[in-house]
Amino acid sequence: MKTIGIPEDLHKELIRLKLENGNRNIAEMIKKLVYEHKKRHFLGNSLKFNEMLRKSGKTFDQFLKESRKVREEIADEWFPEE
């Protein structure tokens, strides 16, 4: 276990949120906040990915084929067949 120092008003806010969300403890609540943050981060990147794809003018299948070629290129460089 580790202890972190936070301002009193933030502590009060966390306690209020814990009660509001019915979490067993602050650690459980923070874990859920971290999970939600990561999920939002992923959803943002999903939008960026599809925007990148749209700009390239390629379909997803074409994109995967292109990626396959890169995979082969890496295999040839890293694991040359004897």
Binding site: Y35, K38, K39, H41, F42, L43, N45, S46, K48, F49, N50, M52, L53, S56, F60, F63, L64, E66, S67, R68, V70, R71, E72, E73, I74, A75, D76, W78, F79, E81
Partner: protein
Amino acid sequence: MSGFLRNDVIKIVVDTNILFMAWHNSSGKAAIVLDKAREGKIILYAPDSVKEEIVRVFKRHGQAEEQIESFLADFPIIWIEKDIYNIFLNKTKVKHNADKPVEALSLALGCSILSADNHFNICKNRVDIDKLLREFG
């Protein structure tokens, strides 16, 4: 308990296609599986060659280093260096050289493969995505 379950946490090796599929369809099956990893219900592994592939593909699509790092931070993947799975490369069943790192890593770690690529059908330790999702009800 299924064969790919170890100590109540599922450990799987993923390939690049699964990650790209999740970004492409954020509510699809691949994204759901990766979400389970975020919840700590699955441990994801991938060879360093998968990371290199993602980096090269994104670079060729003009993505900045920072953005690529941001993409890679989306999933809690444990990246494994080739020194760990190298000796298993010649024990693989997949035909194509490009698919060998994923299977070799699965053999090195003794866990299943999750891939959307039919090339892995030959592998006995390949896990079906629907079957995997059923584990979570």
